[in-house]
């Protein structure tokens, strides 16, 4: 396996609020390899967006990151950068695609100009060269008749086109890491499909690494090489995309997979995860998912589960994997997935 381009170690992020300290990220570690797409999956409040904001150095002022947290990018700890150094990294080496194309473009600036801006700033191109490159980028992200539209303003474009422009801006400086924070959530399904195809295509061309943040496992299945599932500020399971989808081990991953209807979901068989994610103002003792988990063990409410190894690439933090734990039968849909995993393993062997 290649050397990871980004290494997150023991990341903690706390927010000081009037009501107390919100522990938004509680000990998150992961690697990102060159050229791969890592999907971080979780519901709102799981800390996935805070993780990306931290990676971009864009956290709110009341965020506190303890000393032992490390974000290693090319042997530099990003957490030690000054604001000036950050400005060099941001948009240049690490770029971001935001969720809402309506608000992430400046409504008063021509789109071509907005794409050219990071080029002028980071690569010190002349305005003319930058605009020429902007035109190329617009073509690259599939904007039809780019020449005619380079002087358009954002409001003249549809949501899908605007998201393409946002992607073009992110790609302008040829970043090594692209962070996509729910890039298609605000779009219609048909547009979503187009944007996802585009992102896959572009990644193949540039061999950059993508961190893809989403709550939609359907999108993950088509996009990701590896998947990390987050819950209540922690990663609860991570592995390759096949491992997560066909051999899931954490009950939360089961819950997520089961709450999406597929073609063969019979009526009345859609299983929802009950309840609401915990408030990270007072993270529960032990496994944060326990109160919503129908497979919860007594120990879950006392002690936090460590990561149990399933394979070299696949880990899950659930006591169910402890040798002392009883064997449980996951929901039928998950059993189906496990069966498919057996088949896949058989084919490989």
């Amino acid at each position: 396996m290649s050397n990871p381009i980004l290494r997150v170690e023991n990341l903690h992020v706390n927010f000081n609020t009037y009501a107390g300290t919100v522990q938004a990220i509680r000990d998150v570690s992961f690697d990102l390899n060159q050229g791969e797409t890592l999907a971080i999956v979780g519901e709102s409040g799981s800390g996935k967006s805070v993780t990306t904001k931290t990676l971009m150095g864009l956290n709110a002022k009341n965020a506190v990151i303890p000393e032992n947290s490390r974000l290693l990018f090319k042997d530099k700890n990003l957490l030690e950068l000054s604001e000036e150094e950050w400005q060099h990294v941001r948009g240049n080496e690490i770029a971001m695609i935001f969720q809402d194309p309506m608000t992430s473009l400046d409504p008063t600036m021509k789109i071509g100009q907005q794409i050219a801006e990071p080029l002028i700033k980071h690569q010190e191109l002349s305005e003319k060269d930058a605009l020429a490159r902007a035109l190329e980028l617009m073509k690259g992200v599939g904007i039809p008749n780019a020449e005619e539209h380079i002087n358009d303003y954002p409001h003249q474009w549809s949501g899908g086109m605007r998201q393409r422009a946002v992607i073009a801006i992110a790609l302008a400086a040829d970043p090594e890491i692209l962070i996509a924070d729910e890039p298609t959530t605000a779009l219609d399904v048909t547009i979503q499909a187009q944007i996802l195809n585009l992102m896959k295509q572009l990644q193949k061309q540039s061999n950059s690494s993508i961190i893809f943040i989403t709550h939609d496992l359907g999108v993950v299945a088509g996009m990701a090489d590896r998947v990390a599932v987050m819950y209540a500020g922690k990663i609860v399971e991570y592995g390759t995309v096949d491992e997560i989808f066909f051999n899931p081990q954490h009950p939360y991953t089961w819950g997520l997979l089961n709450s999406m209807p597929t073609t063969d979901t019979a009526e009345g068989s859609l299983q929802a995860i009950p309840g609401t994610p915990p408030d990270l103002l007072e993270p529960p003792l032990g496994d944060a998912f326990a109160p919503r988990n129908s497979y919860a063990l007594a120990i879950d409410s006392k002690e936090e589960p460590p990561f149990f190894k399933i394979s070299d690439t696949h880990y899950a933090a659930t006591w169910l994997l402890d040798e002392r734990a009883p064997k449980v039968t996951p929901p039928a849909q998950i059993l189906k997935r496990w069966a498919r995993w057996e088949e896949l393993q058989g084919q490989e062997a």
Binding site: P274, L297, D322
Partner: protein, 341 residues
């Protein structure tokens, strides 16, 4: 890590009471705004200052009447006139001593004129207590402020909500009326009412009534236009709520922040407006004191008795400043996006 085997028993999910639990303290919009306002020290000081001033102005009605402040001893004008502020304590500049321009030594007019009384804020050119006159002026300023607020709320908000909610041609007509009214210079309105009713507080208040609520009405109308498309207004409509109830329950509470901030901007400009009018003799009739007329009366003597100008202008500036700072703090408090958490 010494876990027992009984720890590995399936207990299942907890009941909904537990997994729907919210641990954040319950906080209403107003509590939250108050919490954020408290973080702004200047705004809090301004708030308490204004509360104190308002209370003081109310209580002062009992011990400083209009007549007392206007009355002067015509026989002893020479004895009492232009006495400097005297706290009765040896504080430099506030000890009843005066340094005439050009003179090298300070004089003590109290001793020279054989005045037993101490005038804390000094006296004016005919020997009236400046303190009492400033208090009366303050009351007039606050009266103007309160009526401006009242008119803003009563006419401005109602007009704005109605215009925005009705929309269509009603809105067009109502907005044209606002434009016509705002194009009339309010100095003309005051002069007109001065001619009709005579100069005085009443005509000032009427002038403010005619022109002061316009920007409030405009702001409220704009807010109404955007709020009436909100889903919760549609929800109330689809439940069959009447328009008046929707305005009271949904529209006005959600624009309360804007309304209050707008008031905080109207009030100092109304106070200043009154002061300017009184200073150019379109305001209160002498001998009634207003902060504006006090300043204009004393300005000819600025060189000799600067305190006669400085004291009323100081009060004027402090009140306006307090309103502006409080308004600023309130705007931040009502707009959580601008704050840190």
């Amino acid at each position: 890590m010494a876990a027992n085997t009984e720890d590995f028993v399936i207990v299942g999910a907890q009941n909904s009471e537990a997994n729907e639990h919210i641990s954040k303290p319950a906080l209403s919009f107003w509590q939250d705004a108050w919490r954020r306002l408290k973080l702004n020290k200047l705004a809090v000081i301004s708030l308490w200052f204004l509360v104190f001033i308002l209370g003081f102005a109310l209580v002062s009605n009992f011990f400083v009447t209009q007549n007392k402040a206007n009355a002067f001893d015509s026989d002893n004008v020479g004895k009492y006139k232009n006495l400097p502020p005297n706290s009765g304590l040896p504080i430099p500049g506030w000890d009843g001593k005066l340094k005439e321009p050009g003179a090298t030594d300070t004089t003590d007019p109290y001793k020279n004129n054989n005045v037993k009384q101490n005038f804390i804020l000094g006296t004016d050119n005919i020997g009236r207590s400046l303190g009492k006159r400033v208090i009366v002026g303050l009351r007039i300023s606050l009266l103007v402020a309160i009526s401006a607020t009242f008119i803003d709320l009563l006419i401005g908000v109602t007009y704005g909500v109605f215009s925005g909610w009705k929309g269509g041609w009603v809105d067009v007509v109502m907005q044209r009326i606002i434009e016509i009214l705002s194009s009339v210079p309010n100095l003309i309105v005051v002069t007109m009412f001065g001619l009709l009713l005579g100069n005085g507080v009443t005509s000032i208040i009427i002038a403010i009534a005619i022109t002061g609520w316009l920007s409030m009405a405009r702001q409220v109308r704009n807010m109404t236009l955007s709020l009436k498309e909100r889903d919760y207004v549609l929800a109330a409509k689809s439940l069959g709520e009447s328009s008046t109830k929707i305005a009271i329950k949904h529209l006005i509470p959600n624009m309360a922040g804007t309304i209050i901030v707008q008031i905080m901007m109207t009030v100092p400009s109304a106070i200043m407006f009154e002061a300017v009018l009184s200073a150019i003799n379109l305001g209160v009739k002498p001998p009634t004191a207003s902060l504006g007329s006090l300043i204009s009366d004393a300005q000819s003597m600025l060189q000799f008795y600067p305190y006669q100008v400085l004291i009323p202008s100081g009060v004027l500036v402090l009140i306006s400043l307090a309103f502006i700072l409080l308004g600023d703090g309130l705007r931040d408090a009502f707009d959580p996006r601008a704050s840190e958490d």
